[in-house]
């Protein structure tokens, strides 16, 4: 998610549209990114390495905060072909052991 101090013109445009569509109660909209990352294994340092990449690659700490969350495979779009087709040939175990990454403001990971 963009940090609070970073202008989010996209969020503002969506906020205005929501107000226009009959919801004047909307005070603020912030738009970030949501990524799902399907990984193999459950090694002890896996989560720490993922945090490293969240910091170095997946988010830019100058303008964004991120949060890393572990999700059950059935909650992941990887496992739900209706909303998103799973990659062909992906071993079932990989999907069962998915780790999701969610960026969210203010929660810190």
């Amino acid at each position: 998610m963009p940090k609070a101090a970073v202008l989010d013109p996209q969020g503002n445009a969506v906020r205005d549209a929501m107000r226009h569509l009959g919801m004047p109660e909307v005070r603020r909209v912030r738009i970030g990114k949501y990524m799902e990352i399907d990984v193999d294994g459950k090694n002890g340092d896996l989560e720490a390495r993922l945090h490293g990449l969240c910091h170095d690659l997946l988010s830019n700490p100058v303008i964004e905060d991120y949060e890393l969350q572990r999700l059950e495979a059935e909650d992941s779009t990887f496992a739900n072909p209706r909303s998103h087709s799973a990659p062909a040939g992906q071993p079932a175990t990989a999907r069962q052991r998915g780790v999701g990454s969610r960026k969210q403001k203010g929660r810190g990971a």
Binding site: L7, P9, N60, V62
Partner: protein, 227 residues
């Protein structure tokens, strides 16, 4: 590259992003473009190209590094310059000719254009809104790291002259050591009067002068361009 090669005494070569050394060059230019389709964030993936290790180590050793447009974004992502470039405030891709005002006297990139000089340069970007936190902004101003601001044609720094919502109309900054310079405008697309402006050539000439004066003897310069 044509912009640099068109200036007497300079010659540029492309360097493939998978190469790992820039030793034979006097300066490095990271040009504009949309490396890796701007996926994830502008410059976020390009920043990990193999050649970037050489860019970072050469920059740390004091070599001149110029980043224009996408090159500026890559330099920020790589941590060679503070801050970040985010979505234009207007949410529109802006393709226009702008006026920038040179804010410092002593940068190796603007020796040929003293403080207050107005440069007409083109811009073409969707994510050119420069952002830094307030503490970093204070340091940038205190250390004279803001090289250029967007100005109107009379040289006034006013909101109407700001094409993308950049904080304090900042168009280009350098690092504390003053050897790395990034800007959203394209000096490379304004280095010949036939392109509508030759002001951009002043940046490359300044770099050439800076390199020449740091040497005992003047030899032909080789300016490297990372594609």
């Amino acid at each position: 590259m044509a912009a640099i090669n068109g200036i007497g005494g300079l010659s540029a070569e492309y360097v493939w992003h998978k190469q790992t050394s820039l030793h034979s060059f006097d300066a490095i230019v990271l040009p504009g473009g949309f490396a890796y389709g701007d996926y994830l964030r502008c410059g976020a993936i390009a920043r990990f190209s193999p050649i970037m290790k050489a860019v970072i180590s050469d920059a740390r050793e004091g070599k001149l590094v110029l980043g224009t447009c996408n090159g500026f974004q890559v330099l920020c992502e790589a941590g060679l310059l503070p801050g970040a470039l985010v979505r234009n405030r207007s949410l529109r891709f802006v393709c226009d000719m702008v006026t920038t005002r040179v804010e410092v006297d002593d940068s190796p990139f603007t020796r040929d254009c003293p403080k207050g000089t107005l440069l007409r340069l083109p811009i073409a970007h969707g994510e050119g809104c420069f952002f830094v936190d307030t503490k970093t902004l204070r340091n940038l101003n205190a250390n004279q790291q803001v090289i250029m601001r967007y100005a109107d044609r009379r040289g006034r720094i006013v909101p109407e002259a700001n094409p993308n919502g950049s904080i304090e109309n900042i168009a280009g900054i350098c690092n504390r050591e003053r050897n790395v310079f990034g800007l959203m405008p394209h000096p490379d697309r304004a280095s010949d009067p036939r392109l509508g402006s030759a002001d951009g050539a002043k940046i490359f000439r300044s770099m050439m002068q800076a390199i020449s004066t740091t040497r005992a003897t003047v030899v032909p310069e080789h300016v490297k361009q990372v594609a």
